[in-house]
């Protein structure tokens, strides 16, 4: 009898715990105006990638974030809040970026995130700031020449990226392994855990630069417009981002940054992504 009672107490405790936890989650987000707050503090907190060469990479030597997205975020911050404003960077992964935006740790995501209808249900996007396309990276001389060759083979992707869902449409019989980040996914490809690594061509191009013996193969099989992720209900912030984005494109800053990061990358034609 005593034992049963003990079990019951435990069950009730765990149920209560669950209810409290869910309670926290369903609580509405701070309805504060992100743009107003940022104007006061003269800082915008951006979520950037730390493992994506050319776009967002944390340099192990000085611990600074470097890449096209990082530079673009800095330029946008200056346009939005004035010359003396500062951009602060928080490292995110494909998996953590939306939760971090939702709970207010970051103001905006600029981390190789494709604008998709599914994501639009949860967050808002700015206009696209880059047009990538999904492709595959294989070992030199691999029998895989295009995505359809991957049927029956193993593909490596990254948790939370839409490329793992896309690739299933083009190679439905492939097995997909999802690893936590790109660095690990690449190491897994090298140890032979899979036959190809799939994600956006621009990310793969960055990997190919650093890893001789691996190449991009086949044409990009999707179009992936990258957008800046903004929380729902932050209309002012979104408007301001879009305005700044237009300004950096018209004054030539955008194309300068493209040339700086992609001007000399084998397997990637930077002219295709230049904007007027």
């Amino acid at each position: 009898m005593k034992k049963k009672f003990k079990y019951l107490t435990l069950l009730i405790t765990s149920l209560l715990l669950v209810l409290t936890l869910t309670g926290c989650g369903s609580q509405s987000l701070s309805s504060q105006n992100v743009l107003e707050n940022d104007k006061k503090s003269k800082t915008i907190t951006w979520g950037v990638k730390a493992d994506t060469k050319l776009l967002g990479l944390t340099d192990v030597k000085d611990g600074k974030e470097k890449g096209f997205e990082v530079d673009l975020a800095k330029a946008l911050t200056k346009k939005m809040l004035g010359k003396d404003a500062k951009a602060k960077f928080v490292t995110v992964t494909s998996q953590s970026r939306i939760p971090l935006l939702k709970n207010g740790n970051i103001d905006a995501i600029i981390a190789t995130m494709t604008i998709t209808p599914d994501r639009k249900k949860t967050i808002d996007f700015s206009n696209s700031y880059f047009d990538a396309g999904q492709s595959i990276l294989v070992k030199d001389g691999s029998s895989v020449k295009k995505v359809q060759d991957l049927n029956g083979k193993t593909i490596i992707g990254v948790v939370g990226s839409n490329s793992v869902q896309n690739v299933k449409k083009f190679a439905p019989k492939a097995q997909v392994l999802q690893l936590p980040d790109y660095a690990q996914a690449l190491t897994a490809l090298k140890s032979g855990q899979g036959d190809a690594l799939t994600t956006d061509n621009v990310i793969l191009a960055g990997m190919a630069v650093n890893n001789p013996g691996y190449e991009l193969t086949g044409k990009a099989f999707t179009t992936e417009p990258y957008g800046i992720g903004i929380n729902k209900g932050q209309g002012d912030f979104k408007k301001s981002v879009n305005k700044a984005l237009k300004e950096v494109q018209t004054d030539g800053t955008y194309n300068k940054l493209i040339m700086k990061w992609f001007g000399n990358v084998p397997g990637f034609n930077y002219k295709e992504v230049l904007r007027k």
């Binding site: 690893l179 140890s191 855990q193």
Partner: protein, 212 residues
């Protein structure tokens, strides 16, 4: 939460299955390996004691994730292909066996040394005395800490998620990133872990009461 559960039922169940399978395998092998190293640590031979000590100290003091990554990423480069599930389960087995070795050794040490001496005086060999006299008493003593190790093992099996081992945590990550319903997903994942660990806790308590 109910909708999330029904929508992704097959993913949750398959993750649950892989977690249970990995835990059962790791539990079985780590108990055997751990007990063997525990005995090594108390053997009269000094070489045996040193070998036992080295094993325990190395694997008890390296993070589980490092051991697992080693089997997932390094071993395939030089030796043989290991998939995520296997790498995770091997890592889990080695890591847990070091803790079990320490636990069982403590148990053996707390059995009065007169027991061993008396058994040897009766003409039993070291192994006979160990198997028939010391170990049965030792295991009875270490049931509560062993139970802790088993529960830890189940929780630690979430390391499989980092090497694409298809376990509960891996499926949880997948579902969270597709539905964006992070909170509910991890609550459900937590509940599934409780389904495995609570019965273990209660069974160990039951065993303790029965044998004590």
């Amino acid at each position: 939460m109910i909708k999330l559960l029904t929508d992704n039922w097959s993913a949750f169940i398959s993750g649950f299955g892989w977690t249970v399978l990995s835990s059962v395998l790791a539990l079985f092998f780590s108990l055997i390996i751990g007990s063997l190293f525990a005995i090594l640590e108390v053997m009269p031979s000094k070489t045996a004691r040193v070998i036992g000590n080295i094993y325990v100290e190395i694997f008890r003091n390296i993070p589980l994730l490092v051991i697992t990554m080693f089997f997932y990423l390094v071993i395939p480069l030089y030796v043989v292909k290991v998939n995520g599930f296997t790498a995770g389960t091997i890592g889990l087995t080695i890591y847990t066996s070091a803790f079990i070795a320490e636990t069982v050794r403590a148990g053996i040490n707390s059995v009065d040394s007169g027991q061993m001496e008396a058994a040897r005086a009766q003409g039993m060999s070291f192994w006979q005395a160990m198997k028939n006299v010391v170990l049965p008493q030792a295991f009875k003593l270490v049931i509560p800490p062993l139970g802790n190790q088993f529960v830890n093992l189940v929780k630690n099996s979430s390391v499989l998620a980092f090497v694409a081992g298809f376990d509960l945590m891996y499926q949880g990550n997948m579902i969270a990133s597709q539905t964006f319903d992070t909170v509910n997903t991890y609550v459900v994942v937590g509940l599934f872990y409780l389904v495995i660990t609570l019965p273990i806790s209660y069974y160990m308590q039951h065993l303790e009461r029965k044998l004590a």
